[in-house]
C-alpha cells in the first residue's frame, strides 16, 4: 500500500507528502515522474518527484490542489493510503548521464516556478550530492507562496524573485535571469520547470541569449507508460510522447502554443466535476446545460 507517512501544507493549497512506495524510491532519478490515484475511482494524476530515499522506500511529492482529484488528494492525512502510485516514469534528466567531471565544469542555471520547484529541488539535491554547484532562480507571484525556500537554499545558490516585489528580485523569472547575466554571470545551460507559459517565455529569452535550455513538460496523460498517446507534443516538428520520450525536452524545439492549447481539452468537464464535488446538489448554473 502507498501509505502517507508525512503531510505538510507548504502554502495555501500546496501540499507536501511523504509516501511509502519502495519500488519507486529504489529506482527514481531526477527528472522522472509518477502517477497517483487518490482512491478506487480516482483519475490518474501525473506528478513530478520531489525527493526519494531508496533505503526507507519513501517518495516525496508536492502538489497543488487545483482540480477535483487533487482536492481529494489534499484531504488525505498522515496514515491514509493512496489507491495507486506507479513509477518512476519517463526518462531521467540527461544531467544524470553526463560524466561528473564535465558536469562540474558546466554553468547551469535552474529556473523553478510554482510547484515546479519540487522537481527542480530533486535535481539540485542530486547535483549537490555529486559535488556540483549551480544557480537557481525561484519565482512566484508573491512572497506567501514561495515554497521549500530553506531546502532550495541548502542545495543551490538561490535567487528568489516575486512578481509584486514582496521578496527578492522584483519581476518574473526572465527579469531575474537577465539581471543575473547583467551582473556578470555566465550560463551554458538553463533548466526551466514550471507553468508552460513560464517555460515558453524563458525559452524565448534564452534563445535570444543563445543558451541551451531544457524544459519539463506536463501535458494531459492517461496511462503514462506509452500506450495512449494523449501526452503527445510537437518537438522540432516531430510527434513526441512526454511519458516515454520526455518529460524533459530541448525547450527551443517545443511548440509551446500548441501544447498550451491542448491543455484546455477537458477544461469544461474538469471544472464541472470540481464544482459538482465542491457544491454538491446546490450547483446549478440555471442554463440547463450543466
Amino acid at each position: 500500500m502507498f501509505r502517507i507517512v508525512k503531510k505538510e501544507v507548504l502554502a495555501p493549497n500546496i501540499y507536501l507528502m511523504d509516501v511509502e512506495a519502495p519500488r519507486i524510491a529504489k529506482h527514481a532519478l531526477p527528472g522522472q515522474f509518477l502517477i497517483v490515484r487518490a482512491d478506487d475511482d480516482g483519475e490518474r494524476i501525473p506528478l513530478t518527484i520531489c525527493d526519494y530515499d531508496a533505503e526507507s522506500g519513501i517518495v516525496q511529492i508536492v502538489f497543488q490542489a487545483i482540480g477535483a482529484d487533487t482536492h481529494r488528494m489534499a484531504k488525505l492525512e498522515t496514515g491514509d493510503c493512496f489507491a495507486d502510485m506507479v513509477g518512476p516514469l519517463g526518462r531521467p534528466s540527461d544531467l544524470c548521464e553526463i560524466p561528473l567531471e564535465d558536469l562540474k565544469k558546466m554553468k547551469i542555471c535552474f529556473i523553478a516556478g510554482g510547484v515546479g520547484t519540487a522537481p527542480v529541488y530533486c535535481q539540485l539535491k542530486w547535483l549537490k550530492n555529486n559535488g556540483v554547484n549551480v544557480d537557481c532562480i525561484q519565482g512566484a507571484r508573491t512572497k506567501d507562496i514561495i515554497i521549500l525556500e530553506d531546502e532550495m537554499r541548502a542545495v543551490s545558490d538561490l535567487h528568489i524573485c516575486t512578481d509584486d516585489g514582496s521578496y527578492g528580485i522584483k519581476g518574473n523569472v526572465c527579469v531575474a535571469l537577465e539581471q543575473l547575466i547583467n551582473e556578470g554571470k555566465q550560463f551554458d545551460r538553463v533548466v526551466a520547470i514550471g507553468p508552460m507559459i513560464m517555460m515558453k517565455f524563458v525559452c524565448q529569452l534564452t534563445k535570444k541569449l543563445d543558451i541551451e535550455t531544457i524544459v519539463s513538460m506536463n501535458p494531459i496523460m492517461v496511462d503514462g507508460t506509452g500506450m495512449c498517446g494523449a501526452c503527445r507534443l510537437m518537438v522540432g516538428g516531430q510527434v513526441k510522447f512526454a511519458c516515454v520520450d520526455g518529460p524533459e525536452f530541448d525547450g527551443h524545439l517545443v511548440d509551446f502554443d500548441q501544447a498550451m492549447q491542448r491543455m484546455k481539452l477537458y477544461k469544461n468537464e474538469e471544472t464541472r466535476l470540481l464544482l459538482r464535488e465542491q457544491e454538491g446538489e446546490s450547483h446549478h448554473g440555471g442554463c440547463g446545460n450543466c
Binding site: H27, M85, V86, D223, C228, D255, E269
Partner: protein
C-alpha cells in the same frame, strides 16, 4: 425442435437501435436449449480440422460432445485443459478464420457456432460456480510474467497449473491489459466476464502486482538477480499509437483510438458518474479498419456521435472481424471506404472542425499480397466533424527492450522470440503476444503465452 442442419442456431442479440444507445453487451449468447441444438450439428470428425485452427488447440469436438449430453461441467473441464479464458475467447476470437473457418460443416452450409458454444459453457460454468483446479505438485521455482493481458494471463495460468510460483506484474492499476483498457464493455463485459476470468487465474495460485512498470519500477535483471525469479515471460503488449503525420493532427479533438478507448473502458468515462472526461462528439471520423477502429467507432456512436469510418482500402480488405463490421453497420456506422485523410482542419480556437479526404483506388498487390491503395488525383472532399480518432495500429513500446541488456529486437523494434517456445536471445527470458508480433489478436497472444509456458517449463526442467 425442428431445425435446418445447414444453418447455425441464430444467437440472440440486442436490437441495433436499442444497443446503439447503451453499453450493455450486444450478443446475448445461447441458452441451454439453443446450445444443445447447436451442439447437435457437430459431426464429431475423426480428424477435427477445427482443433488445428485453434491457436490453443482446444479439444473442440470433445467439449461439444459434453454440451450435447447437457454436461456443462464436463465441457468446461475439457476447455480448461487448453484455455484459461474461455468466456473471453468465446466473445472476441476471430472464429471465422480459425476453428469455424476449418469446420467441415462450413463447406456446404454454415460452420458449427463453436465460439458461441464456448461462451455458453464458460458463462454457465461461472454461474454454477465451477472453477478450474490445480493438482500439480509445487516445483519450487518462481516465474515473473510481465503484463496481465491475454498472453500473460494464459502463460501464468498454464505455469501455475504445472506447479510454478507465478507473479504477474501489471503497469496499470487494474489487471487485464487490452481486455480491460481496449475492448469495450458492449463486446466484453468487465465485471461479469473479465474480472471473473482473472479471478479464476488467481484461483490457480497466480499473484498479481499492479502499478509496476517493468523497465522503470524494476528491470528484468532486477527481477532475476534481486527478487529470485528463475524465468521471465514478457507479454507487455503493443505500444505507442501511430499517427498519420498529416497537417492538423495536433488539433483538439484528435485522439488515438487507444486514448479514446482507455478513457471509456479502463476509466469508465462512458458512465455519467465517472471522474474521467471523454469527448462526446457530434460527428466523429474514425480512421482505420481494424477491430480497434470498430470498437472506437461503436463507442463514439454510443456516446452520441454520428460516426464515419474512413478506410483506404475496400470492404474486402477490412482487417476487422466480419461480425464486428456487421454489428457496426447495423448500428448505423457509415463506412467511407477507399478514402484516406489528407488534412485535419481546426477552428480559430484549435478545435477540429473538419477533415479533407481523398478517394483511393486499388492498384497492384504489395509485398503482403494486398492490393495497395493509390490516391485518385483531384478527388479531395471535405467531411465536417468535431472529432477524429486515429486507429492506425501501434509501434512497440521501448520501455523493456531499452532497459534489458542482451534482449534482441528486430527491424520493427519488436522483441525477437522463437515462435515454438517463446525463447528470446536472453537466457531465461521468454516473450509472446503483441510485444513480439506487433498488434494482433487476443487469441494469437494466448497461443503465444501457451507456447511460452511450455518453453519455460522445458527450460526450468532442464536446469
Amino acid at each position: 425442435m425442428t431445425m435446418d442442419m445447414m444453418k447455425k442456431v441464430p444467437v440472440r442479440e440486442q436490437d441495433p437501435k436499442v444497443r446503439a444507445a447503451n453499453f450493455d453487451e450486444v450478443c446475448l449468447g445461447y441458452n441451454k436449449e439453443e446450445a444443445e441444438a447447436e451442439a447437435q450439428r457437430c459431426l464429431n470428425c475423426k480428424r477435427p480440422f477445427c482443433v488445428q485452427g485453434c491457436p490453443v488447440s482446444i479439444d473442440i469436438p470433445g467439449f461439444i460432445a459434453k454440451v450435447k449430453e447437457g454436461d456443462v461441467e464436463g465441457a468446461y473441464n475439457v476447455i480448461s485443459q487448453s484455455s484459461a479464458l474461455p468466456a473471453i475467447c468465446g466473445r472476441v476470437c476471430p472464429q471465422e478464420s480459425q476453428c469455424e473457418g476449418k469446420c467441415v460443416r462450413g463447406i456446404k452450409g454454415e460452420a458449427v457456432s463453436i465460439g458461441k458454444l464456448e461462451r455458453y459453457v464458460a458463462d454457465t460454468a461461472r454461474e454454477m460456480g465451477i472453477r478450474p483446479t490445480v493438482t500439480a505438485e509445487k516445483k519450487g521455482k518462481k516465474v515473473a510474467v510481465i503484463g496481465s493481458g491475454p498472453a500473460g494471463l494464459t502463460c501464468a495460468g498454464d505455469l501455475a497449473r504445472m506447479g510454478y510460483d507465478v507473479t504477474i506484474f501489471e503497469a496499470l492499476h487494474k489487471a487485464g491489459g487490452v481486455l480491460v483498457y481496449g475492448i469495450p464493455e458492449f463486446r466484453l463485459p468487465k465485471d461479469a466476464v473479465v474480472e471473473k476470468e482473472i479471478e479464476n487465474v488467481k484461483a490457480l495460485g497466480v499473484k498479481i502486482e499492479t502499478d509496476v512498470v517493468i523497465g522503470k519500477s524494476v528491470t528484468i535483471d532486477g527481477l532475476m538477480k534481486d527478487e529470485g525469479y528463475d524465468a521471465v515471460f514478457i507479454g507487455s503488449g503493443a505500444g505507442l499509437p501511430r499517427f498519420m503525420n498529416i497537417p492538423g493532427e495536433q488539433a483538439m479533438g484528435v485522439f488515438s483510438a487507444n486514448e479514446y478507448l482507455t478513457r471509456s473502458n479502463l476509466m469508465k468515462a462512458f458512465r455519467e458518474d465517472s471522474r474521467t472526461p471523454i469527448m462526446r462528439a457530434k460527428k466523429a471520423v474514425v480512421v482505420g479498419g481494424g477491430n480497434v477502429a470498430m470498437d472506437a467507432a461503436r463507442t463514439a456512436l454510443r456516446l452520441g456521435a454520428e460516426v464515419h469510418i474512413v478506410y483506404r482500402r475496400s470492404e474486402a480488405e477490412l482487417p476487422a472481424r466480419k461480425e464486428e463490421v456487421e454489428h457496426a453497420k447495423q448500428e448505423g456506422i457509415i463506412f467511407d471506404l477507399l478514402t484516406n485523410p489528407v488534412e485535419i482542419h481546426a477552428d480559430e480556437n484549435g478545435w477540429v472542425k473538419g477533415i479533407t479526404c481523398i478517394r483511393m483506388e486499388l492498384g497492384e498487390p504489395d509485398a503482403s499480397g494486398r492490393r495497395s491503395p493509390v490516391p485518385v488525383e483531384g478527388s479531395e472532399f471535405y467531411i465536417e466533424c468535431d472529432a477524429v480518432i486515429m486507429s492506425l495500429g501501434t509501434s512497440p513500446n521501448p520501455l523493456i527492450s531499452s532497459t534489458t541488456e542482451g534482449l534482441d529486437i528486430n527491424r520493427r523494434k519488436c522483441i525477437v522470440a522463437d515462435e515454438a517456445n517463446g525463447q528470446t536471445s536472453k537466457p531465461g527470458v521468454f516473450a509472446g503476444g503483441d510485444a513480439v508480433t506487433g498488434a494482433a489478436t487476443v487469441i494469437l497472444a494466448m497461443g503465444a503465452g501457451k507456447a511460452a509456458a511450455k518453453g519455460i517449463d522445458e527450460y526450468l526442467s532442464n536446469q
